[in-house]
Structure formats: C-alpha cells, structure tokens
Symmetry: C2
Subunit: 587 residues, 2 copies
Amino acid sequence: MQIYKAPITDMRFAFETFGYDAVMKLKRFADYDLDTVEALLGEAGKFCTNEMLPLNRVGDQVGLKWDPESGEVVLPDGFKKLYADYVASGLVGIAQPVAYGGGGAPHAVSVGLSELATATNKSFSMCPGLNHGLIEALHHHGTDQQKKDWLPKLVSGEWTGTMCLTEPQCGTDLGLITTRAEPRDDGGYSLTGTKIWITFGEHDLTDNIVHLVLARLPDAPEGIKGISAFLVPKFLLDGTRNGIKCGGLEHKMGIHASPTCVMNMEDATGYLVGTPHKGMRSMFVMMNAARLHVGIEGIALGEIAYQTAVAFCHDRRQGRSLNPERNEGGAKADNILVHPDVRRQLLNCKSTNEGLRGLSAWIANLIDRSHYAEDPDERQEADDLVALLTPIIKAYGTERGFRNINDALQVTGGAGYTTDWSIEQYLRDSRIALIYEGTNHVQALDLVGRKLPRAGGRLYKVFSKHVHRFCKAHEEAGTHAEFVGPTRKAIDTLNEVTMALAMKGMSDGEAAAAAASNYLTLFGLTTLAYIWAAEAVAASEKDGKFYRTKLKTARFFFEHVLPETDSLVRMVDASKDSMMAFDEDEF
Amino acid sequence: MQIYKAPITDMRFAFETFGYDAVMKLKRFADYDLDTVEALLGEAGKFCTNEMLPLNRVGDQVGLKWDPESGEVVLPDGFKKLYADYVASGLVGIAQPVAYGGGGAPHAVSVGLSELATATNKSFSMCPGLNHGLIEALHHHGTDQQKKDWLPKLVSGEWTGTMCLTEPQCGTDLGLITTRAEPRDDGGYSLTGTKIWITFGEHDLTDNIVHLVLARLPDAPEGIKGISAFLVPKFLLDGTRNGIKCGGLEHKMGIHASPTCVMNMEDATGYLVGTPHKGMRSMFVMMNAARLHVGIEGIALGEIAYQTAVAFCHDRRQGRSLNPERNEGGAKADNILVHPDVRRQLLNCKSTNEGLRGLSAWIANLIDRSHYAEDPDERQEADDLVALLTPIIKAYGTERGFRNINDALQVTGGAGYTTDWSIEQYLRDSRIALIYEGTNHVQALDLVGRKLPRAGGRLYKVFSKHVHRFCKAHEEAGTHAEFVGPTRKAIDTLNEVTMALAMKGMSDGEAAAAAASNYLTLFGLTTLAYIWAAEAVAASEKDGKFYRTKLKTARFFFEHVLPETDSLVRMVDASKDSMMAFDEDEF
C-alpha cells in the first residue's frame, strides 16, 4: 500500500512565511514568483507520485545486479525508462545554472523537488540528487574547458555524477585518504586507489558517469591539507573506457535500488579540478547544499510514513473511545483516531515534520539570498544563518525523521511491520541519512567546534537576534503570546546554554564534544519553536481549514514536543567525567 | 560479523542483587543454588553462541518456504538439526514443571536462557519460547486427561505449541473475535475461522503442533466476555490430520526465519480448555510471563548490538582524541573509543541495558516468590510487584532496546548499515517487540488503567515503599549518597506525578490515556534509578574490575540518562486538549 499526496500547500506556505518575497526580488529569479514555484512543484509532485512511487517497492524487493566480470550494474526493471522520463520531464536541470542549459530556478524549487522525489523513491532520487554536488564543484572550481566539456550533459541529465571521498580506512577522517594521483606528461593525472560507499558509482541509466575523486598528489602534505580533487569519467571524451571500475556492491539495510559501489581505479585518467592540495575546498562548496538535501530526506520519508499511517488509522477499528461522545453509533469499535495515544504519535510526526519543512524552506531562501542579494550585509547575514543552520537541518532533520517514521510504524501495529504498507521500507531507507554526508555527531562538532566560534560568535548572534526581534515585535504588540511566550523562553535558555558551553569548550574541547550532540538537538527544537511561532502568526492572519489546522498543530508542538528541551539542557550541562572514566577494555 | 559473549557474570550479579536468596530458600528450588544457575546459563550460553548464532544470519537471508498446496512451511537449512540439538541439550523443558518431565528450574534460569537465545537467534528462539505459554495454560486450566495427553511431549519439545488470538479485524481489541466453535456430540468442538500473526503456526521442526485457539461458542455473550479457549492440534492423538492449515506467511521487516502464519480452520477438531466464555483467563495466566520475555528481547538484542559496536570501535581508527594525552603515539588516528560521543552512545546502551537486566532479574525472582513463598503476605507483595512491573519491562524494555540497537548502529557508521555486521538485522528483528504481546501503549493503559487503581492503589504503594525503604536505610546510614540521592528525588517525583495522574484519571479517562505512554517511560526510568542504586551499593561492597565498572556505569546512568525524566514529567502534565482538538480529517 503506497500512499502519497504531495504536500504542495504546506511547501508554498513555508516558502512564503520564511522570506520568499526577498528571493523573488532578486533579478535572476524574476520568472519564479510563488505561483510559478507552486505550479512547478505541483507538476513535479504528479510525476513523483505517478511514475516514481510505483517503482519504489519494486526497487526495494528486486534490488541490483552486479557483474563481477565487467563491473557493470543493472537496476531493476523500469528504472531505466523512469530515468529517461525524468530527464524528459525537465526536472533534472531545473535548478541548475542557465549558462549550462539549466532552468535557473531558486532553491525553493530544488528543495521542494528534493522532498517529493525522496518521499516517493529515495533510491532513485539519489542518482539525480548527486549531480548537484558535482555541478556546483565544477561551476566554482573547474576550468572553462572543463565546464564546457562536462557541464551541459550533466545539467541535462544525459550523464550522471558522483562524489568519491570515502576509502576503507577513512570515512569521517578524510585526512587518511591514500588514493594516489601521478601527473602525466599531457597535463592529466593517473589515479590509483579504492573508493567505497560510492552512490550510483556504476549503473545502467546513462551512457557515461563522471566521478569527482579526492586523491593525493606525490608532493602532497600529510593529512587533510594534502588532498586534491580530480574529475574521473567512466568514458573519456573520445569514447575510451577509463580505468575505473565497480568492484562490488554493499549489501545494505535499505535503499536497495541505489547502488553503493566499491570503485577501483587502476591508472585511471583524471583531470585536476581547482588548486592542488585544496580539494577539500571543492567539497565544502557543495557541503551546505548536500547536507540540506540529506536533512530533507528525513522530512520526505517522515511525510510519506505519516500519510500512510493516517490512511491506515481511518480504516482501522479497534476498541471504543474513552469519551462516549466519540463512540460511533452502530459500530462495534471506533476507528483508532479516537485514541489519544494514536493522535499523540501522529501529531509528534506532523508537528516536527512540518516544522522541519519550515526550517528547510527558510534555509533554501537564505541560500539564494546569500549568493545573490545586492546588499553585502544581507548576503553575509544570510550566509551566516545558512552555515549555522545547515548542521541542524542535517542532523536533527534525519534523526527526527527516523523517529517519526518509527512512530508511524508503531501506530499501524503489526501491519506496519509487514512489507504490505511500505513504512518498514521507509524506516530502513531513512536510516542511512543519520550516517552519510557527515554523521550526525560530525554535524554536532561542526556546529559547536566551527560554527559557534566563527567570527567571534557572529553566526549565533545573528540567529539569536533574529528570533529575539521576532519575539520582541509581538511582545510589544501584545499579540500571539501563546506561541511567542514559549519561544522567548526557549531562545533565552539556548542563549544561556550556548554561553556556558562556549566557556566550557574554551578550556576543554573534549567536554564540549561530549555535550555537542545533545546541544544540537536542543538547538533544533529551539529553532522549531521559532518556526512554529512564525507559522502560527502567519496562519492566524489567514482564513481556511489549512490555516486553522496549522494553529492547532503549533499548539501541540509547544505543549507536547518543546518540553523535550528540559532534559537536553540538563544533559548538555552534565560532566564528561562519567564518560571518560572508563578504560577502553571496560566497554 | 557476529560477535557475542554471553553476559553470565552480569546475570548472576543481577539475580543475586535482586533477591535470589529468597528464591533459593523455597523448597522446590533447593537444587538450584546460584552456582548451579550460573553453570546452567554458562552451558546454555555456549550452546547459543556456538550453535544458534551461526544460523542467525542464514535465517535472515534465506527465510522461509511455504507451499500453497499443502500449507507446509520449510525453515532454512540447518534449523531442523538445530532444533533437535536444542531438545537434546535439555534446555527446552528446563524451567517446566517436574510433574510433566521438566527440570523445575526457577525463573532465573528461564529468564537468563530467554536472553541468551533471543540474542543469538531471535527467530529460532520464538519457537520454544511459545511453548511456555501453552504449557502454563494447560497446567492451570486443562483437565487431567488433557495434561496427560499433551503436556509431556510439549515439555520435552517433541511437539511445539502456539497461541492463536489475533484475527484480521482484531488484534488489540480481542472482543471482536469471530472464530466459531460448535459443540459436537462426542464432547469435542468444531472450529471454523481464520487466525493471523500465528508465530510458528506451521513449520517442519516437529511432528505435531498444538494450538491454543480463542473462539466463540454459539451461546457466547458479545465481546471479550464471550471468548473460550480451545486446544486444536495439527494432528489428533490418533494421527488424523486436523482441519487447521497454514494459508500463507506474512512478509516482514525482520525475524525472517520465524514463520508468521495465517491459520485457517475449517471444521477443525478442538478441545475446550477451562470454563466456557472464560478463555481470556487462560490468556491472562500466561501474559505476565510472556510480557516479561518480550521485554527481555529488548535487552537481548540490545546486548549483542552493543557488543558488536564495541568490537567495531576497538578496531576502527578515525581522527585524534581532543585530549592529547589519549593520542596513540605513532598512529595516524586513534581508535574511536577516544571520542566522547562514541562513549556517550555506547554508555547509553550499556547503562540502560544492564539496568533493564537487573529489572528483569528482580521480576523473575518475584514471580517465583509470588507462586511459592510460604508467607501469604510475601506472596501477595511479590505478586503486586510483578503485576505492576510487567508492563514496564515489556514496553520500556523493548522501546529502549530498539533505541539502544539504533545507537549501536550509529556508532558503527556505514558499516552498521550493511548486512556485514548484523546490527541492522538486530534492529529489524527487535522492532516487532514494541508491537506484539500487547502494543507498548496497551502496556501503558494496563499500567495506568488497571494496575494503578487495583486494590485502592496497593500495587503502587508496595513499589514506592520498597524504594523508599531502600533510600531511607542508606540516608540514615549516610552511605552511597551519590546514588541514593537522585533515586530519592526520582521516586518522590514519581509519587507526585502518579497522584496527579490518578486525580486526572478519575474525572477524565481520556486525559489519563493521553499521558499513559510518557508516564510509563517515566516509571521505567525511575525504576532503573532504583535498580542502579541497588547495584551500585552491592558492587561497592565487592572487589574486582567487574564491580568497579558497575560503579562507573551507575554514575553515567544518573548523570546522563536519568535526566530524561525532566521532560517526561512535563509531558505527562500536558493537557490532552491539543491532541483532541483535531477533527479526524485534519490529520
């Protein structure tokens, strides 16, 4: 049973509430007013629901074929046609630069599309999803010739791209990379080494696959400062098969139709992208966008799991309401939506998922403003917020998404544990998002160790002031106290906790690291408080059922979800000593 | 990679700390001193590790074969021999009544065995695990002839048993059962209907399978008070094939080697067990034990997942310690146990898992005392505690177990997401335990709606006084304040919250139901505080590394886990209104 209704209305509301008006004013997005964005996402939603969703379970159950001889990988029946249709639909390059044939749409479109595609077929969506990263890296760091040679076909979707970072001995710690790149006389490089966890490293959807590979030049300094980036295609421009081959697939808990490849390079031809030894810069360029998109995976699968559970509840009758007024006359049992705990679990999903969608919309709008706003101060402020909020949407979005799918599964009981309702697949598919693109604790370290201290704490101050201004305006007007009051309390608490953590971190980095994950969750919930307060204010100014439900959902969030912060405050404050006291053989 | 070391030392410590001396004094357990229990569990641990664990992944990946014609089900290669070896080992009837050929061991043995078997092969362990329920039902409610006919071969493991409760239209709400039982002239009954979710309802491990089936007699009152229990064997005693047949298997997220059967009965011969219309009594007899064993599933899989993650961490090197003193000289990276967040996640598992093991040991000892203590007051008090703590170990044990496996998976990163390390299997296998044997919210309703009000709140008072006495003794002696202080605070808080919830529940059952799940979690954490304080006191009186690590783990629990209660207190206190305000079409 695969159930999905693209949440376009909520997407539009989120973009509108969190500053799309400022994006629309940017010249380059003049063609993309909010109606256009909504229409585009509406069309995308139809494609995803009608074409991608039906192949989602097939992908899970049929999986992939890998030929050890040739190294070729075959996707399940239907995926090749689906990819061709996806390319034909024009969705693949919609948010790519116009200069290379893309649609030049704002991030609102790519973020909305990302949610729709992930919800309906996460395995499939990972293929076009990866192009963005490679395109951004080439766009910012490639030579003019490289751009001319590779970008148009990547933008059109005729070819696909990958990112080759991880090796068997290093994932989080990329300083340990050992893949070698030897210069050749012709200006190219010869690459040798093994990369693992390469998503869509090999497949049969397109004629060529273009890899961005991190490797070391012979004179490279040790560690992270000696890594360069290379473009390594499966086929060279003259059609020669290059020395990069898939050496096997991982057997995974989920995303069974997404090939996770071991890629072996033996004297493979590569082209340097950007400056020698500065390869990590090319990576960082795309990290914010990639991490935002991974965060959205939590929202996407949380949404479809929630919708599936709701559909199940409408039909399932067990027990009677404890409130006789809700008993359906003539029936032996009421539908399970009468039970408060079913509602509690569903509303936990709904309120956090819509809150995270609001956050993702805010970040999407901020990314565009950070790049293209005319006022440098506006650009800087937007950039600060993007840098600060990216680890939060990635880590809290994926963690909460997994938890929400798990709650949706619980609501459906035994049915949810079977493959019949697909929720168990969403749970398995979503689990990897807490790990890849920087594990969630790496996000927490990024937040605490890099983003908070940067520029003397400027990023945090920008955020805190933004929330403060919002609260103050309504406090002075005496409006919306039921939402603004707890938001004020939450931001004041976060201010205190942040200050205390910074003090602790100055003298003891290990203590800050011990608190980082819980701090990130606290930050995430506080941010959602602001998001919900802002959405409640916006909804209260409008009429209609959608907005009335918004207000109810906001109330649930403040009453039943936000209190999670109380425990987190205590845990962030707890000492590292009780962790560090253990000898390694005591675990 | 399947890693397991049977946690026998911790089991012994738990039984010892939580009253095994009182069990040993009972005449019928005179042969089972603690050394004997430890030796038995040690042998069982070897069998489970050497014989059951190697087939665990095979079971997951090969799965089951069902023949639509015959309805027969074939388990993966090796399972039939494993079952025969298991029977030959003597483990199957070790805790069953001596009168029918069992070993008559105390619950300490069956609870310990349950953990070992579930950890090493949950699918397989479900088969002998179900016998206990049927044996108990026959033992308490069967006629002498029924006992003579069926019990010896069930106790010896020559035959297996099932429980047939659920039907397509009813799981939680058994009042909706429609399977019919018509009396025949010979004193037997003819049963017709369909049961679903029947674990090991059909398999090829034994010659016969004996089902305990809930059904309605023609003159049955409506609802839950019109249900009778029947024994329905696959083969009658004269060898005739009975009219009960497997009509299909569920396709599930996990426990792939455990057949979850649709069982169709057409004019099947059945024998009434117990009084007509009082079949639910037979069920309630076995519910406490069955729910305890399901709670232990969380501990079992939490343990093996934790051990696997620890083994991974010892080998995995990424990044350097933030504390230069911990940097390993000559290495490019330290093993990841240096990182506080890795420790935090591992210790979350370790501390809650060992705490839950302590709780399960306490309940196991209490069950034996509730049945066999000479003093009726001791029996009553033990029975009260068992009744109160059973929903807690079932729901909190499975919920925390799932969360712990999830944390173990996170620590292992991408490796944990592959099938190579089996943690992802443990996560999938464990997920059903939050649902079956009464969903976790049903446990919460049992706690709040039945156990708290019973006998004017006597059960809760017994528990609260028990913890109070423990705290008071140490407060007066001025000892162990670091553990007793927070335990005192936790029990005082639980007392207040319980009183407030009872008040709320008197006037508004729906409000109590809305708070029940969070209340159960709060109760679970408070109980673990007592368990840890008691273990810390016991450990501080002994010497040796095991006990020193215990003390460290207790400290971690109080500092980093118990604070979760703060948020729960607020959530229990929150109003139901923000849940109930939603119309059904607003979800």
